[in-house]
């Protein structure tokens, strides 16, 4: 392709300057390789994608030697030797050897039925396999892999894509676009497995299955390896030309030999290799001008854009999408149409764009990007596309909504027009957002139009409308924490990217305030499906220890219910000695804090504590911290019940699961309340007749006594009710709301109805709590002492340099 393009440009400039011979490895004329996907999908025939037919070669006096690759270059004599053992002289030589597909070195990669996706032979092999039907596994969820998968699925194969990274096309797309892409591909019946690593290809004399490193076995009659390409440099290397990743060329496409030039995917120019078609055409232009003896505009590198050639999937990406300040990251989402648009700016210039679902403005953004045009004046309307430019200044939101006609659609999800909403407000006397949602369905689904509906309330009711204390979760959305939680369940949103897209997030990837909250909500809603995102967590929860003012950490093992043993105390003393831990302190939660542990020492400290049976006290967690107890009926002359024993049982049963904020419990053995149960999140006060369960206390920044939830007669009931309260809190509370805050917002009566009155509901809460506990039952310290996430603890590198004397 690259060579053909050079010749076209050359013949246009200097038709008769050279006598041209082309040696090609493929047994056919020059065709448009990037159109192989439509050939596979059956949308085009090979004849449709031929660039130069035999007549063209004849017309331009070009000798095309098909299926005759060059094996060696004699640079001194300026001759090439071909596979047919022919020797051919040259004045100027152009290397356009392209690239080779990368084969992953797994066992079975050489089996029949394993193909790549590079040339027409590969496509023919795939079409032949597809004609027999069965299962296809495509390894690689990049551009080529997805195009191959779409083609095979069209041809009726049951197709699975295995992708190593967590999101598809991660080099060209951000997580939101990748989420939409995955959804669109899955809609075609293609299964997509992300974060999936191929371990082996199984089969005797032909491929039968693909095995992943997690043990999954995927049946396969055809395996397509599409994990990437590598410049084909063997010939250049053998000839002694300078080769790094690709054949090194200068701005005039000249290799380290003045008479040898290179273009296309085989070259490395200014440290870059390209695998797309646009750079190849730009290189061809430069080289042709040079060979023609014309004034040459040097090739200075290319800015590339990506489009996926899968029918019905509109996707465009260009440039770089690093997150910047909010004003430099403009996002427009339309959840009902599956549209996501994002333009990234730097210094008022476009540096990147990702479009999904509506790519009409891709070329326009790309043009502005390449020209580095100043878009300052268009900043506020840029995202709406080229057609919107040239209008007046943006209106204030209330005036803008007020100025819409009555039939303008406000809520895309439920198809509610402005007139319906304003009429409902005036005729039915609606005064709040919730009223409008209940009465018209507007803003009741994805919630993206919430601000418009609120603007309608303001413009219709004027001063009579007060926002009623609705507090959006963060600047990324108009929805409250509770509204987001409810939608995560009802819409079955199972990743952060799904939430961002389906709830119309205003930013591309959330912010430090909503990311930890969403991470928790998703974990709580889908304990086995959602993958915890460590980078959306505060350091303490990432490293399972508490950071101190000097950057060291504190380590607090569990002492169940505040009980310990001489052996445990000896183990703690030994650890403190061995790791020279400077401070050992008894905490307010009845356990021991080891302060001043170096981060690198954490895994070893834990290993030693684990060996003595001590596990993480989760003193860092938004989760169950401690269950404080008094000595109770076992020793105390006033004790009515075994408060210590109940405390131990509660702590063992309730610890582990993440919660919206930290949770502290206490059990007092009598109303003298030595364990201070009435200022805890959940407190139990034992009495002669059983157990009083209190909730919503606090003794920190706010001091608040608990409220009595109920009285139960038995220890088993006490445990069941506590678990149910904890789960209800987990499911309902906004992130970073302590139990008392949740109680304040929800009201004691509602909580009492759910826990005390609704027996089935309570048992269901406990069952869901136990499900969630199954996902976290391993001690996080033991996992990390065994080597998990070692990168959190060890430096990337330790460099010790012997300084030159002069520098001392």
């Amino acid at each position: 392709m690259a060579a053909g393009r050079v010749l076209e440009e050359l013949f246009a400039r200097a038709p008769d300057r050279y006598e041209v011979t082309i040696f090609g490895a493929e047994p056919r004329v020059n065709y448009d390789r990037i159109m192989l996907s439509p050939v596979l999908a059956g949308e085009k025939a090979f004849e449709d994608i031929i660039v130069h037919d035999d007549a063209w070669y004849a017309k331009h006096n070009v000798t095309l030697r098909k299926g005759e690759p060059v094996l060696a270059i004699d640079r001194a004599k300026r001759m090439v030797r071909t596979q047919a053992d022919a020797i051919h002289p040259y004045d100027e030589l152009i290397l356009a050897t392209g690239s080779k597909p990368i084969l992953i070195p797994v066992p079975g990669a050489e089996l029949p039925g394993v193909v790549t996706f590079r040339d027409l032979d590969d496509v023919d092999a795939m079409l032949a396999a597809a004609a027999r039907g069965g299962n296809a596994v495509v390894i690689g969820g990049g551009l080529l892999g997805l195009e191959a998968a779409a083609g095979l699925a069209t041809k009726g194969m049951k197709t699975t894509v295995v992708h190593l990274m967590p999101t598809l096309m991660e080099r060209q797309l951000d997580p939101s676009a990748a989420y939409l892409l995955q959804r669109a591909i899955e809609k075609r019946g293609i299964e997509i497995l992300t974060s999936a690593n191929t371990q082996a290809i199984i089969g005797n004399d032909k491929v039968e299955a693909v095995r992943l490193d997690d043990g999954r076995l995927l049946p396969a009659d055809l395996v397509v390896m599409a994990v990437g390409i590598r410049p084909n440099t063997a010939l250049a290397k053998d000839a002694g030309l300078e080769v790094k990743r690709g054949v090194v060329v200068d701005d005039l496409m000249r290799t380290s030999d003045d008479h040898i030039h290179a273009v296309g995917e085989c070259v490395e120019h200014r440290g870059q290799c390209y695998g797309l078609v646009a750079p190849l055409y730009e290189m061809a232009k430069t080289l042709a001008a040079k060979l023609a003896g014309d004034d040459v505009a040097p090739y200075t590198g290319s800015v590339t854009s990506t489009k996926l050639k899968v029918t019905g999937v509109d996707l465009f990406s260009a440039g770089d999408f690093s997150e910047g300040d909010a004003k430099d990251d403009i996002v427009l989402r339309d959840p009902s149409r599956g549209v996501y648009k994002r333009v990234v700016l730097r210094d008022n210039r476009i540096v990147g764009a990702v479009l999904f679902g509506d790519t009409a403005d891709g070329a326009w953004y790309f043009d502005l990007l390449k020209k580095a045009a100043d878009i300052g004046k268009m900043h506020d309307t840029l995202i709406f596309g080229q057609a919107y430019q040239g209008g007046g200044a943006p209106l204030d939101p209330v005036a803008m909504v007020a100025s819409l006609s009555d039939d303008a659609e406000i809520c895309g999800c439920n198809g509610v027009c402005k007139g319906v909403i304003t009429q409902a407000i005036t005729a039915r006397g609606l005064t709040s957002l919730d009223d409008v949602r209940a009465g018209t369905k507007a803003s009741a689904s994805c919630g993206q139009c919430t601000s418009k509906v609120e603007a309608l309330l303001v413009s219709t009711l004027g001063g009579a409308y007060a926002a009623a204390g609705r507090k959006p979760m963060c600047k990324c959305t108009d929805l409250t924490h509770e509204e987001v939680r409810e939608r995560i369940l009802s819409k079955e949103l199972k990743s952060q990217a799904a939430v961002w897209q389906e709830l119309g997030w205003k930013t591309s990837c959330g912010c430090p305030s909503c990311r930890p909250a969403l991470n928790y909500y998703l974990l709580c809603a889908w304990p086995f499906e959602y993958r915890d995102d460590a980078q959306s967590r505060f350091v303490n929860e990432r490293v399972h220890a508490n950071i101190q003012k000097d950057g060291t950490f504190s380590v607090v093992p569990r002492m169940w219910g505040g009980l310990t043993t001489p052996d445990e105390l000896r183990a703690i003393a030994d650890v403190a000695d061995k790791f020279k831990i400077p401070t050992v302190k008894v905490t307010g939660g009845q356990r021991i804090d080891l302060l001043g542990v170096r981060k690198e020492d954490l895994p070893a400290v834990w290993a030693q504590l684990n060996a003595a049976g001590l596990v993480s006290g989760q003193a860092y967690a938004k989760g169950l911290r401690t269950v404080k107890t008094c000595v109770g009926s076992e020793w105390c002359r006033f004790g009515t019940q075994d408060s210590t024993g109940l405390g131990v049982k509660l702590e063992r049963y309730l610890c582990g699961s993440w919660t919206p904020h930290k949770v502290k419990l206490a059990v007092s053995g009598c109303p003298r309340n030595c364990a201070e149960a009435t200022v805890k999140d959940i407190g139990i006060v034992c009495v002669e007749s059983g157990y009083d369960i209190h909730i919503g206390g606090a003794a920190g920044l706010h001091v608040k006594a608990t409220e009595l939830l109920c009285h139960v007669a038995t220890e088993d009931e006490a445990i069941e009710y506590c678990a149910a309260v904890l789960q209800l809190y987990r499911e309902q509370a906004g992130y970073l709301d302590r139990v008392y805050k949740w109680l304040e917002k929800t009201g004691l009566e509602k909580i009492r109805a759910a826990i005390v009155d609704d027996h089935e509901g309570r048992r269901a809460l406990v069952a869901r709590f136990e499900t969630s506990q199954r996902a976290v039952r391993k001690d996080p310290w033991a996992e990390r002492a065994a080597g998990r996430e070692l990168h959190e603890f060890m430096p990337l590198a330790s460099l010790n340099i012997i300084m030159p004397e002069a520098a001392e």
């Binding site: 951000d174 990743r245 440290g271 770089d320 999408f321 690093s322 997150e323 910047g324 300040d325 990251d329 990837c509 912010c511 430090p512 990311r515 930890p516 460590a534 980078q535 959306s536 967590r537 505060f538 350091v539 303490n540 490293v543 950071i547 003012k549 000097d550 950057g551 990168h791 430096p795 990337l796 590198a797 330790s798 460099l799 010790n800 340099i801 300084m803 520098a807």
Partner: protein, 115 residues
């Protein structure tokens, strides 16, 4: 050109990009200081002295968002590009030349090891 050549000799390979979590950070210990290498969502790398200008907090333990990191101690937001504190806070963590080549991260030790 000459100075570039000299500098080139001090680019130290400190590890592969893959070893740094996306939106995360790893430390590099050098004789004079600890340096935090950050990796953003779009695989850019930045290097800052691993000390918040506020109270010396380890920036490598902070939450990375955009081209910024939130110090884990008191939530100062530090710009990764130049180490400057953002918003109302004033202060600067020293930044160091770092580059990414073929998936490897290089730190310029002629600067990182200098006083």
């Amino acid at each position: 050109m000459n100075s570039m050549l000299t500098q080139h000799d001090f680019w130290f390979d400190v590890g592969s990009l893959q070893e740094i979590p996306v939106r995360g950070s790893r430390r590099v210990k050098t004789p004079r200081r600890e340096i935090a290498i950050f990796r953003t969502a779009s695989d850019e790398v930045f290097a800052l002295e691993n000390r918040c200008p506020h109270k010396g907090g380890p920036l490598s333990d902070g939450i990375v968002h955009g081209r910024k990191v939130a110090c884990p101690l008191h939530n100062w937001i530090i710009n990764l590009e130049d180490g400057e504190a953002t918003g109302a806070d004033k202060g600067c963590a020293r930044s160091f030349p770092v580059k990414l080549e073929n998936g490897r991260v290089y730190l310029d030790m002629s600067v990182a090891a200098a006083p």
